[in-house]
């Protein structure tokens, strides 16, 4: 909401020349979300402070964002909203608007000041920092700032609610005003880890231009790039590539040797297991964005592949990735995506020779597993069923492991190998399947592998396949 910049370089009032703002006036510029007031709280020989005060219209934020075109995800859909009171990408917009000349390194009256490092102090009230003190230091200290801050509790009346992510931040450094502004311009929204507008290709240009002098050598450049580009990996990779080229380094080696992710390895293992069952028709129940379906698609053995998920959005992504609507007709028949749920009986998933539930069951509340069990084993009755789920014992090996904490916020339970096997045996017994268990991933002593897999094979004699 408020950004104040102070210099103690004598005569301090020179700051007004550098920033092109008259010290005896209260000025105002407009940004999309409201107004920016510019004023000088103090001007003397020794100290001069200029403040940017955001005057954001909270009703306008919501109303502008509703209606056709959908809502922005920048927490703008709520009237109860921190945005009017914090320094975020709105502040970056204000900096550019208010100090464009200074940011471009021009000063008509005192051109010699532009490149002169001077003692500067910054006060930001308040700054949301995702990642807390550590991130704050990581971002500003390599640029020579002394970082001071005060972290605010969520509500002092409820100490048990803990600390908020809001800080009143004080920075001091000896640098040029132009540098200082470019640091703030980029790092404020990086702290906030969000942006009020759609981030696209042109955002890379802004980052490279404003950060050209300091970003390539910044140890946290990857974090900055990723957050600045709103975690869009492809954009961030492009930007990093360009940054490092400028620096004469190369990231090629790094990308080549990028290890296969654990999840991909898990899917490969499931694919191999499905191949072994000899099945020709297979259903991926809880297919998500279709990664396993894509793997199965490459295998001639599978004549019919069904991907089912409860999330329509995931299915849209899956169809998009596999471009199913552009496949030739016989391929379209081979792959099908449907929205469905494992807590409802569904004739569309009946009659498959094999089915896979990869990291699915732990997303259901344990009492609802009984329904899933019936839907899959009593009604759909695939010839073979492969179920994988995390192995809770392995959690002990995680660096930040806390007792009882799940790997994912949506996991309703995580089972030990013993628990999974007990459940699996009971299911097999009830529904006339045989079952075997395997570790998924590299096994560690005592705790086993990251994930575990159960392979159920029907004992129905009427089942002819295999």
């Amino acid at each position: 909401m408020l950004l104040s910049i102070t210099t103690t370089r004598r005569p301090a009032s020179d700051l007004s020349y550098l920033l092109h703002k008259h010290p005896e006036k209260v000025q105002q510029v407009e940004i999309a979300a409201g107004a920016v007031h510019i004023f000088y709280p103090e001007v003397s020989e020794e100290r001069c402070t200029i403040s940017l005060l955001l005057d954001i219209d909270p009703i306008g934020l919501v109303r502008r964002n509703s209606g056709p075109g959908g809502t922005n995800e920048f927490a703008l859909e709520q009237y109860v909203n921190d945005r009017p009171y914090v320094s975020s990408s709105f502040m970056s917009a204000a900096i550019v608007k208010a100090f464009s000349t200074a940011m471009n390194g021009r000063c008509k009256d005192r051109p010699e000041l532009v490149n002169e490092p001077m003692p500067l102090e910054v006060e930001i009230a308040v700054l949301p920092v995702r990642g807390g003190e550590e991130v704050l230091r990581q971002l500003f200290e390599p640029l020579g700032y002394k970082v001071g801050f005060e972290r605010h509790p969520i509500d002092e009346a409820f100490p048990e609610w803990g600390e908020s992510r809001y800080y009143t931040v004080r920075l001091s450094n000896t640098t040029t005003v132009q540098q200082l502004l470019s640091h703030l311009y980029i790092l404020i929204p990086v702290c906030d880890n969000d942006k009020h507008y759609w981030v696209g290709q042109q955002e890379i240009g802004k980052l490279l231009e404003k950060g050209k002098d300091w970003l390539p050598g910044h140890p946290a450049r990857e974090l900055i790039t990723l957050r600045y580009l709103k975690h869009q990996k492809s954009l961030a990779n492009q930007a990093l590539e360009m940054l490092l080229q400028a620096e004469g380094e190369s990231s090629e080696e790094d990308t080549k040797e990028r290890k296969l992710r654990t999840h991909d390895l898990r899917l490969l293992a499931v694919r191999d297991e499905l191949l072994l069952t000899g099945a020709h028709t297979v259903a991926d129940l809880g297919c998500g964005e279709g990664k396993l379906v894509k793997l199965l698609w490459a295998e001639k053995q599978f004549e019919r592949i069904l991907g089912m998920d409860v999330s329509f959005r995931s299915l849209e992504i899956a169809k998009d990735k596999l471009k199913t609507d552009r496949l030739p007709p016989h391929q379209q028949k081979r792959i099908q995506f449907i929205q469905g749920s494992l807590t409802y009986r569904d004739t569309r998933i009946e009659g498959f020779e094999a089915a896979a539930l990869v990291e699915v069951i732990e997303h259901l509340d344990e009492p609802r597993l009984a329904a899933l069990e019936k839907v899959v084993f009593k009604y759909a009755r695939p010839g073979a069923v492969i179920i994988t789920t995390p192995n809770a014992e392995y959690n002990a090996l995680f660096e930040d492991h806390e007792e009882g904490r799940m790997r994912h916020s949506d996991h309703r339970f995580e089972w030990t190998r013993q628990e999974f096997e007990t459940w699996g045996r009971q299911v097999a017994e009830t529904h006339n399947y045989s079952v075997s268990f395997k570790a998924l991933g590299e096994e560690a002593p005592e705790v086993g592998a990251l994930s575990q897999m159960a392979i159920f094979i029907t004992k129905d004699t009427s089942y002819v396949k295999r």
Binding site: E24, S51, I59, V80, R368, A371
Partner: protein
């Protein structure tokens, strides 16, 4: 003219017109049938080829005609095929279609001379084909005439001259024999008697019938309906026949045939039948009767109709039950099904045919009452009920009273016949047949566009995309669907106030209710917590019996989206046990003659459920604003001593810290720590249902009073909601309510809810809003932000549309009470879930969440 005649056809039939080109079929059809009833081959040809005469298009045109006819017949609509139909293979297809839909095929032949057809053809310019065509068609027609009956046409009408065609004055539509829709009952439907005369008379007597010289009459005019299998196995088949025949002949009762009755008829007709399965007894007993009696039995059995559709289509009686698509239809297949049911082709370990469980798949609207398969107890399953309780095998003879749906039975005096399979062979569980069947719901019942019929005439449409959203919510978050018998509706606020300082004010709510014809309302204090629906029973056995839920405790507390309120089950059960104690202690269970209750409540504190929202949104905004404004004010004050005029900014920002602190005060009021059960407060406001009953017919004052009595039993946990009854035509009364609201909200209260005095209030246009909320000025900061009261914000916020919210509230209310009623009526779970799922789906409609 004396030749005038009316042609009578069954009301649901497939009428196949047969005649050469230019014989006048189309004009005949147009004269006697609705245009929508006529499927014309020429029109279909034109639709698929732009050319009525295109021979190349005939195949496609026929396919199209068949599809249209098929859809119509499926929907139970008479259909006329306007085509030459002179070839046998073409007619065969129509016969096949009629059979597929169990409707009767009717042939109307227009058999005019070649000369007349040729003359007419010559005057036509729209038919361009060779001279040989008409003579060929006529010769094909002549050859066909004799074969029509053999082909399967049940009614054949032939018109030989233009005069005869002209003389047809109309087409009469005959109801099918099975159509007794106008018979509304009340009925007593009686299961398989099998010659158990003593038990039959005992049952009739118990049902209140009186014997007047062999004719059993009910003083209230009730009529017995027999599901068949009157004969065989038992000791007195003639006695049973005599009783039933006299009732049916006198028009005092009804009877459908069973397989045993039909087999006996075959014997009476001199056919060669095996005297097995108890037929021998019937033969022996009948041989002791007069030939005249045997003759009358023959006539009686021969006249029995396969099944009946009663009471406007709400009740179907057939011996072995009947699928929905066969009800009210006539075909050989329908008769077979009625008599023998459906078997899988396999036999069980007792060598009896394994019956296909058609009832498990039944989704029809009509209740189907049947017999045929002996069961230990008559139990409803998907609106069907088998009332053959094996009297002749030593079970009992059962009657179903309709529409009361009460079962009345008398035990068999003895075992007259040893059953091949013991009557109690199936392993008994506490769960009812319906509960066992409702094990898992089927996705087909909820996906796609759905229309839910509710009481009070509201048909509610659920759009496909909303169902898709609801599926995800329901699957990922909701509890066991057997618990979910009700989801509460959303609540609309009052119209926006015209007062400058208020967004909401009581006046508008009172005006609304006065406007829709309500004269008395109940105002209840609105508690700021979380809406919670609670089901609690005396013990887990009750839950198993009533809800069919095993091992999930003595009840549940769930949110308005069907999620468990408590994360930890032990905590939930401890909470419910405490409520259970209060219900016991206050005498609630005794007073309401129940072992369980479903309550609509508000559970406080808000912070117990909304903790993450409080931390990430309310607390966060509060602390960010407080500290940012602190810095802003410091800087502005510092600048005030400088020459630049800072006054406008000081004024503008000077009011904000106060607004923010009011906002923080507002949400803090609804937060307090809970430790174990201590700290929770529960304010029930509706007693939704107890054993066998919903309480939506009671007014809100009744609910408030009964809840107050309950709350007195545990004032630590339970909170009786303060309320006032207000007369909308009394100024004093209104003022009193307004003052009360001002008092509540000035102290920071959320506000109040205004409800019509009766729970369900309807006027000419249907339901009125079940409740309207009027939220306090300070409370609304939590909704519209700390600074909403500043004039520039208030003026903009005042423009808000309520119609979407209002419509949603009504639809959700209708669905909520419908689901509850269906649960009480013991309908299948899918029928209850349909309502609950629809509420959840409607909730995904985009609406301003602040209303």
């Amino acid at each position: 003219m004396s030749n005038d005649r009316q042609i009578n056809v069954p009301e649901l039939s497939l009428v196949v017109l047969i005649g050469a080109s230019s014989s006048g079929k189309s004009s005949f059809a147009r004269r006697h049938f609705k245009s929508t009833e006529i499927v014309s081959s020429d029109a279909c040809r034109a639709m698929v080829s732009d050319d009525e005469n295109s021979l190349a298009a005939s195949g496609d045109a026929f396919d199209l005609a068949r599809v249209i006819a098929s859809k119509r017949l499926k929907n139970g609509l008479l259909t006329v095929i306007d085509a030459t139909n002179v070839q046998e293979n073409v007619r065969k297809d129509w016969i096949k279609l009629a059979r597929e839909h169990h409707v009767l095929p009717v042939a109307i032949v227009i058999n005019l001379s070649e000369k007349i057809c040729a003359q007419r053809h010559a005057t036509r310019t729209d038919r361009d084909f060779g001279k040989h065509v008409i003579p060929m068609q006529i010769s094909q027609l002549k050859r066909s005439l004799r074969r029509l009956k053999l082909e399967g046409f049940r009614h054949i009408f032939e018109l030989r001259t233009p005069e005869e065609v002209e003389a047809v004055t109309g087409i009469g539509r005959q109801p099918l024999y099975n159509n007794k829709r106008e018979e509304k009952g009340p009925f007593d439907i009686i299961g398989d008697v099998h010659g158990c005369y003593d038990e039959l008379t005992a049952l009739l007597r118990q049902l209140g019938y009186e014997d007047s010289s062999g004719l059993w009459r009910h003083p209230e005019g009730r009529k017995p309906v027999f599901v068949g299998d009157l004969v065989d196995r038992g000791p007195d088949t003639p006695g049973v026949l005599r009783t039933v025949m006299s009732l049916v002949d006198a028009g005092l009762g009804w009877c459908v045939p069973g397989n045993h009755d039909v087999k006996l008829l075959k014997w009476l007709n001199g056919k060669n039948v095996q005297p097995t399965h108890g037929l021998q007894q019937s033969i022996e007993q009948l041989q002791a009767e007069t030939p005249g009696f045997r003759e009358s039995v023959k006539t009686f059995l021969d006249g029995l109709i396969s099944h009946y559709v009663f009471d406007g289509g709400n009740l179907v009686v057939a011996h072995a039950g009947l699928r929905e698509e066969m009800q009210g239809r006539g075909s050989g297949a329908v008769r077979e099904f009625c008599l023998y049911g459906e078997t899988t082709g396999e036999t069980d370990e007792f060598d009896l045919p394994v019956r296909y469980n058609w009832a498990a798949e039944y989704k029809g609207k009509a209740q189907v009452v049947y017999g045929h398969t002996p069961v230990p107890e008559a139990q409803w399953l998907n609106r069907t009920i088998d009332i053959d309780t094996g009297c002749v095998f030593g079970g009992k003879l059962t009657a179903l009273r309709y529409p009361e749906r009460e079962l009345v039975s008398v035990p068999a005096a003895r075992v007259y016949c040893e059953p091949a399979r013991p009557l109690h062979y199936q392993v008994q569980t506490q769960l009812s047949l319906q509960q066992q069947h409702d094990d898992v719901l089927d996705i087909a019942d909820i996906m796609g566009r759905q229309i839910v019929e509710t009481m009070h005439g509201h048909r509610i449409t659920v759009r496909e995309e909303n169902a898709m959203a609801a599926l995800e919510v329901m699957s990922r978050w909701a509890i066991n669907p057997k618990w979910l018998i009700y989801l509460p509706p959303t609540m609309s606020p009052a119209e926006t106030s015209k007062l400058e300082d208020y967004l909401e004010y009581p006046k508008e709510a009172f005006d609304y209710y006065r406007g829709v014809g309500v004269d008395k309302v109940v105002c209840e204090e609105k508690h700021m917590g979380s809406r919670a629906v609670i089901i609690v029973a005396r013990d887990a056995d009750v839950i198993e019996r009533v809800f069919g839920i095993v091992n999930e405790g003595i009840g549940v507390v769930y949110t308005r989206t069907g999620r468990a309120f408590f994360q930890e089950e032990p905590m939930e059960q401890a909470f419910l046990q405490r409520l259970n104690n209060a219900l016991e202690g206050s005498g609630f269970y005794r007073k309401f003659q129940t072992d369980w209750v479903c309550l609509d409540t508000e559970l406080m504190p808000w912070s117990a459920k909304a903790q993450s929202l409080l931390v990430t949104q309310y607390g966060a905004t509060g602390t960010a604003a407080t500290h940012a404004l602190e810095a802003v004010m410091a800087r502005l004050q510092q600048a005030a001593s400088r020459p630049a005029d800072i006054t406008p900014l000081l004024e503008r920002f000077g009011t904000k810290p106060h607004l923010v602190s009011s906002f923080v005060q507002a949400y803090r009021r609804y937060c307090w720590p809970v430790k174990d059960l201590e700290g929770y407060k529960l304010a029930p406001f509706h007693i939704l249902a107890t054993e066998g009953k919903t309480w939506l017919d009671q007014d809100h004052e009744w609910h408030m009073e009964n809840i107050r009595d309950l709350c007195a039993a545990d004032t630590g946990l339970l909170l009786a909601t303060p309320y006032k009854v207000i007369h909308l035509d009394e100024e004093d009364s209104l003022q009193q309510a307004t003052d009360w609201w001002l008092g509540l909200t000035a102290a920071g209260g959320e506000g109040m809810v205004v409800k019509p005095y009766t729970f369900i209030h309807t006027n000419k246009r249907g339901l009125v809003q079940p409740a309207i909320k009027i939220r306090g000025k300070e409370y609304l900061r939590i909704i519209y932000g700390p600074e909403y009261t500043s004039p520039e914000n208030m003026s903009r916020l005042k423009s808000r549309g309520l119609s979407g919210k209002r419509s949603l509230a009504l639809r959700e209310f209708a669905l909520g009470i419908e689901g509850l009623q269906r649960f009480i009526n013991r309908e299948p779970l899918r029928r209850i879930h349909e309502c609950v799922f629809a509420v959840l789906a409607l909730e995904s409609e985009p609406l301003d969440p602040r209303l």
